[in-house]
Amino acid sequence: MTQLALVIDLNVCVGCHACVTSCKEWNTSGAAGPLCDENPYGADPTGTFFNRVQTFEVGQYPNTETVHFPKSCLHCEDPPCVPVCPTGASYKRKQDGIVLVDYDKCIGCKYCTWACPYGAREIDEKQQVMKKCTLCVDRIYDQALPEADRKPSCVKACPTSARLFGDVHDPESVVSKAIRENAGYALMPEWGTHPANHYLPRRKTNMKIHEDELERVDNPLKVDGKLPKPNMKDPTLDDVTTW
């Protein structure tokens, strides 16, 4: 069974909000109607977003790190928001595990937001229906797009490739490998929601330099110069240095 998901590398995210604006641009222009904003140019602007980037400071000055934290629907494998929906507007697709809202069925009771520990859903204040990340479901299957563009628009927009997209149930997919090899983790694992989206932790980027990389072990006299030419008949590694 397929479970599409995002893997977000916190080690690489620079907090540029390109994913936020790209997501908003794509999803406000689609057939499902706009993601409404209120007072966009006023003193107190607010609006509906699928994806937001938050910033946290970890540690005590001067030993701090700034962590940019993109946050969107995690497409849980056991989504608590789905069974509570009284109308069936919230559902999880069997074929690819994407959690979606049918905007034509939603009654705007907001019960699903109470049931989501991540705060991933936002009500559209103008249309009064619940909205959330769709993993760009109207884009990833679009045969009219070139194959390389069949990815969520946040993934396409990320300038540092901090966002990966793929099937986390396929052990050979790029996302599964990233989770496996870089200690990918899920948010709030204590609730048993099994989020499909994973995050890759900050990593220390140390360079290990061995002694012999600074000082050649085959040059004990520390005399640098041209190596003697090998004999005509000696075997060599490449043709360039031969006679």
């Binding site: 400071e57 009284p86 109308t87 009654i107 907001k110 705060g119 900050r202």
Partner: protein
Amino acid sequence: MKPALSVVFLTTLIGAGQGLFLALFTQQSYALFDLLPHQQASFYGWGSLLALLFTISGLVASFFHLGRPERAWRAAAQWRTSWLSREVIVLPAFMGILFLYAAAHLGGFDPVLVVLPSGLNIHATIALGILGTLLAFALFLCTGMIYACLRFLQEWHTPLTVVNFILLGGSSGFILATLYAALFSPTQVGFLGGWASIITVLALLVRSASLWRNARLRPKSTMQTAIGIKHPRIVQKAQGAMGGSFNTREFFHGKSESFVSRIKAFFLIFVFAVPLLILAFNFSNASVALLCVAFFAQYAGLLAERWYFFAEAKHPQNLYYQGKS
């Protein structure tokens, strides 16, 4: 959580309606076994219509909670998984029984359905009453479970939530029934007032238990599990939106600590102390005016209680919005 006013009104109004019906049918059940004098049919009939009025008001209030009230009919679809959906089915069913129970009494249609081996006649209104009682409890269960089933909201995720809805609705309805009896059948004031006192005392015990429990809760989620970084000091610097968002509006009540604790004191006095004192006084000296005060003061207290119930619940998503609280 931000208290949803429409839900505050819905739960308190239907609670009073359910409690009133349970009180009326309790009296009729006692009368069935000749433990109390059977009242005139109009006593039960108009009482049931009064309960219907309360549940209708609650239903109207609930529509204000919906962003798309015109689609409300769809909410009955997911009764297999959703307690909200179950409530949407049980509430109209209960209202239908309230109407039929009232109609059977007022219309004089009360044939004997079954004669039990002991010679007890089971009338149609008794059968409707039993059905109504079951539905009243089913409705309490649905309403309570809407909150109690949300495991992230640890303040709500306890059987005490359901028991509180039952006892507080029962207390409100039995006090309303006492007032109703004081107006139309003063001989029953002692019986209904007695039960009202017992239920109110039980409600006080259970509500205190839930307050005690919730004051000692340890949040399961922390900043560390929320973003997955194992460092004791994490401070939010940006929320991803300048002017707030749905997340900052829906999950914060926006009132000070002292305001919330004043609301708690207010509801403890008005839901429990005031009606209990009046009921105690009432045994010797039945007064309609005092019972009126008891019911309406308690109703104001119940509104505060339900407000506090929401405000006290801390949603784990608030961890992502530390800057706002």
